[in-house]
């Protein structure tokens, strides 16, 4: 393993923390601008209807109302994140002709204060002709079902197929085959900061937007195209973002409406979504129906898999196409699989659109795979961890049509979690009502597939160094809470040997930071932006090295070290110069030309999916009350390989947060829907785990050095959100004999499974 600079792996306290603990960090809704108007939106009360007539005259006449817009007033340019496939871009900022879910945006108002705006919304008259609506994927793909989008026959907007190896032949000759159908439900990101944006008109018909987003560049581009103005007439600016988890990675209607009305009125326009609206209409994780058939040889080797998935996309594509692709990819990750067939369909229903959410298709795909591994292990007489180890990928393995795995701590993770959890011992002395379950995962470190069709590199960095010994990083990377504002500075400081407090940052400003960055999703930021920074710092070093060679009359073969705010000769550290002094001399030598360098990163020759893969395994220990069916998670054990952690506590924080989300997904969070309406729209009824619900947890890291990652790092953000559901599901089975194939695991289902409830 390579030796890293000492700053790598240190739990540098987050540099944004002092601002956040004192209430000084500025989130979007904290911003007020002179002359600002307040925007409210009218949404559809019906799940599927034709718009026959909209009358805004009363709203317009209300004193204090400055603008009212409907779809017909706008340029009517469709948008969607999959620019590579223009037919997939199926959304309009405001509905024209038709509404497709309860919550579909129909009109917007800008007024002097929020109350007037609200009043004006209530004065807009819309006449609808109700259409038959579809609420399940099965109904949507049924013959003769009404079409939600005319262009998408059978209500299927996207199909993804993978097919390699002799799947049918392997099934025919297999020692053991099983098939199961799993159903997983929709859940929400429940980021604590509700969506908000403010647009301000700028000179020359330009517009500046502050918005709670995890993809400033995507918002810039799509806002420009929907407004019909040049891309660089839109500036998206840095704000603190109160969580995203995949729920804030698209252009959203209010971003368009604020900008559009700001340009029309010449005044700033602000929008704030309420929690009730966010829970009722907001993006969510795809519910899915997953059919999976797997076959094993006698020695426990997995030989084939047939995986068919219907994704409940809701009314629009959103990030559904990516989930459809990735679900298939996750279906053959983690384990060696010689024959595989995947058939994924993204299906429209008249419900709020599903989109990306932490894990992007993986929590669902792995729930199916991992549940089946545990079932197969039991029936074939293998220890569930052994069966996984038999099939686990190793360094150098090729995932067909995907990539080569360059680092893989999977087997070690499985072994370590066995040890950490006391697996063997506890399974030997099993207590009634008590169970231990295992689940594993592999995840991507950013995506390769360019669905956004960006013309720029995937990540970029600009580094400027000064003769006061400081450096300034410009990066479009976006801190939504996961910590790149700290981690990226850590990478820069480590490579130039500067103390962390010498590094300033300008982030997430599309007008000032180098182009481009695709945003915070797919666990891509540390690896991709880190690499861009290292390319830039390498150029900076090349500007400084000649200064020392000249100063000390060095021999060609001598190497320099950058450490402790100094640069020195490795073989003779007395020959040294402060970083500041070196920059000063270089500046003189360049006759005043500042020391500035840019670096870029786009994964090359890395297949179509990801430049690097994380691995891990998790054990859940549960107690189930046999009378009430209540599942209590006693402890969670995790072992995972995220490459070299750049900031240890930041990585721990990801794991700890992931467990909370996984726990909610498995046991407590779900939407109650009736006729396309979300009935539970408060945190009282949508149950995010509280501090009292959280089980204790223990974890170990299996360090590998990923050659493609900065200082050996790979992803740590999303993979950890994957295994919890199947681990708890398996543990509940061990405790009770009830095997859950449809999440969430509720007390009713447990009791029904045990035959105690009809």
């Amino acid at each position: 393993m390579k030796t890293n600079p000492k700053l790598i792996g240190q739990s540098v306290p987050r540099l944004d923390a002092p601002q956040k603990v004192t209430g000084q960090a500025i989130y979007t809704d904290d911003i007020k601008l002179p002359g600002m108007l307040y925007c409210k939106m009218l949404t559809s009360p019906l799940p599927h209807a034709r718009i026959k007539r909209i009358d805004v005259s009363k709203a317009r006449a209300l004193p204090g109302v400055k603008d009212v817009i409907i779809g017909e007033d706008t340029p009517k340019v469709k948008y969607g994140n999959w620019r590579l496939v223009p037919e997939s871009q199926d959304e309009l900022p405001l509905a024209v002709d038709k509404v497709r879910f309860v919550g579909d945006e129909v009109a917007a108002v800008a007024a002097l204060d929020p109350e007037i705006a609200e009043k004006a919304i209530s004065l807009i008259e819309v006449e609808y002709e109700e259409l038959p609506a579809l609420y399940t994927v099965e109904d949507s793909i049924a013959d003769g079902a009404p079409l939600i989008h005319e262009e998408s026959k059978g209500n299927v907007s996207l199909v993804r197929k993978i097919n390699y190896g002799d799947v049918d032949g392997s099934f025919a000759s297999a020692h053991y085959v099983r098939e199961d159908t799993f159903r997983v439900h929709a859940v929400q990101h429940a980021y604590m900061e509700p969506c908000a944006s403010i647009a301000a008109p700028d000179e020359g018909g330009r517009v500046t937007l502050w918005t709670s987003t995890q993809t400033p560049y995507i918002v810039q581009c799509l806002l420009a195209s929907t407004l019909g103005i040049p891309e660089n007439h839109v500036r998206v600016m840095k704000v603190a973002v109160g969580g995203g988890f995949g729920g804030k990675m698209e252009l959203r209607p209010w971003e368009f409406c604020c900008a559009f009305m700001a340009l029309r009125t010449g005044r700033p326009v602000k929008f704030l979504w309420s929690r009730k609206e966010d829970l009722s209409f907001g993006r969510r994780r795809h519910g899915m129906t997953l059919y999976s058939k797997i076959a094993f040889a006698k020695d426990g080797k997995l030989i084939a898999k047939d995986f068919q998935v219907l994704l409940d996309g809701g009314a629009y594509n959103a990030m559904g196409p990516t989930a459809t692709f990735l679900c298939g990819t996750f279906g053959n990750m983690a384990y060696r699989l010689p024959a595989y067939r995947y058939f994924g369909r993204h299906v429209y229903t008249n419900k709020p659109p599903a989109s990306a959410m932490r894990g992007f298709g993986a929590p669902q795909a792995y729930f199916a795979m991992e549940s089946q591994f545990s079932m197969a292990a039991e029936e074939m007489g293998f220890d569930p961890i052994d069966l996984r180890i038999i099939n686990a990928m190793e360094e150098g393995d090729v995932i067909p049509e995907v990539a080569t795995v360059s680092t893989c701590g999977f087997k070690e993770s499985l072994e370590k979690v066995r040890e950490l959890s006391g697996w063997d011992e506890k399974r030997k002395n099993r207590q009634p009502g008590h169970g231990l379950g295992i689940s594993a995962y592999s995840f991507i470190s950013g995506g390769v597939f360019n669905w956004f069709n960006t013309k720029y590199n995937f990540s970029a960095a600009e580094v400027r160094v000064y003769d006061d010994g400081t450096a300034h990083l410009f990066s479009m990377a976006c801190d939504i809470g996961q910590g790149p504002d700290t981690v990226l500075r850590q990478i820069l400081a480590a490579d130039l040997g500067l103390s962390i407090d010498k590094v300033r940052l300008t982030a997430m400003d599309t007008a000032q930071t180098p182009k481009a960055d695709l945003g915070s999703w797919g666990s891509r930021v540390t690896l991709m932006n880190g690499n861009a920074i290292l390319e830039a710092t390498k150029k900076i070093k090349e500007m400084l090295i000649p200064v020392l060679f000249a100063e000390f009359d060095l021999n060609q073969i001598q190497d320099l070290a950058f450490e402790d705010d100094h640069i020195f000769v490795k073989s003779n550290p007395k020959k040294r110069m402060s970083f500041a002094q070196a920059v000063y001399k270089a500046l003189r030598g360049r006759r005043g030309e500042p020391l500035v360098a840019q670096g870029y990163y786009t994964p090359r020759n890395k297949g179509l999916v990801s430049p690097a893969f994380s691995f891990g395994a998790q054990v859940a220990e549960v107690t189930v009350d046999q009378d009430t069916g209540l599942v209590k998670v006693d402890k969670i054990y995790t072992a995972h390989d995220c490459g070299v952690p750049i900031n240890k506590k930041a990585v721990e924080g990801q794991l700890e947060g992931a467990i909370q989300m996984g726990l909610g997904y498995t046991l407590s969070e779900q939407f109650v829907m009736k006729d396309g309406r979300t009935l539970n729209s408060t945190f009282l009824d949508y149950k995010v785990p509280t501090a009292l619900d959280m089980p204790p947890s223990e974890s170990v890291e299996v360090e590998t050095y990923e050659p493609e990652g900065p200082f050996g790092a790979k992803e740590a953000g999303e993979g950890l959100a994957i295994p919890t559901a199947a681990a708890i599901g398996h543990a509940v089975y061990e405790a009770t004999g009830y095997r859950c194939k449809d999440l969430p695991i509720t007390p009713e289902k447990v009791l029904r499974g045990l035959g105690k409830l009809k």
Partner: protein, 164 residues
């Protein structure tokens, strides 16, 4: 209904404001007094992001009418430390323990922690968790927040911590 004149004593400063009787304390703090450190995560009383201290007790400022706060002593996140350039020991502990990710729950968490430690200077882990049960965090799994409060208790009363 006409606006009412009320006097708010926030972080030791007196403000006279005319408010509609239905305005919440959270709205008035944020919109009238520009104290935007208090966050609104739900406006329904369910997430705790808007927690402030009123007359020595934590309240959800989104559920408290501004008129109810007339002439009461209110402390918000901005008033916890002696000055804006210093950190209160609880704030220090949140920074050191890395209890902050997106930060949107943080003001409310810290105010709930303050309330807890004011009434129970040496809480057990269970008591800390119970003290936070009205505050939702979606990023941290609460682990480092609980650690931070434990650390804060020790910072605020090192002697007491030794005894405990």
């Amino acid at each position: 209904m006409a606006k009412q004149n009320i006097e708010l004593i926030v972080n030791g400063d007196r403000y006279t404001v005319a408010v509609d009787p239905w305005r919440t304390l959270a709205e008035v703090l944020r919109e009238e007094l520009n104290l935007t450190g208090t966050k609104v995560g739900c406006n329904q009383g369910d997430c705790g992001a808007c927690t402030v201290i009123m007359d020595g007790r934590s309240v959800s400022s989104c559920l408290t009418l501004a008129v109810e706060a007339h002439q009461r002593q209110i402390t918000t996140i901005e008033g916890l430390a002696p000055s804006r350039t210093q950190l209160h020991p609880i704030q220090e502990a949140f920074v050191e323990a890395q209890a902050v990710q997106c930060g949107f729950c943080t003001s409310g968490m810290i105010m709930s922690a303050k309330n807890l430690l004011d009434h129970n200077p040496h809480p057990t882990e269970e008591e800390i968790r119970a003290g936070l049960s009205g505050n939702l965090c979606r990023c941290t799994g609460y682990v480092k927040i609980v650690e931070a409060i434990d650390l804060a208790a020790k910072k605020l009363d090192p002697a007491g911590a030794k005894e405990a």
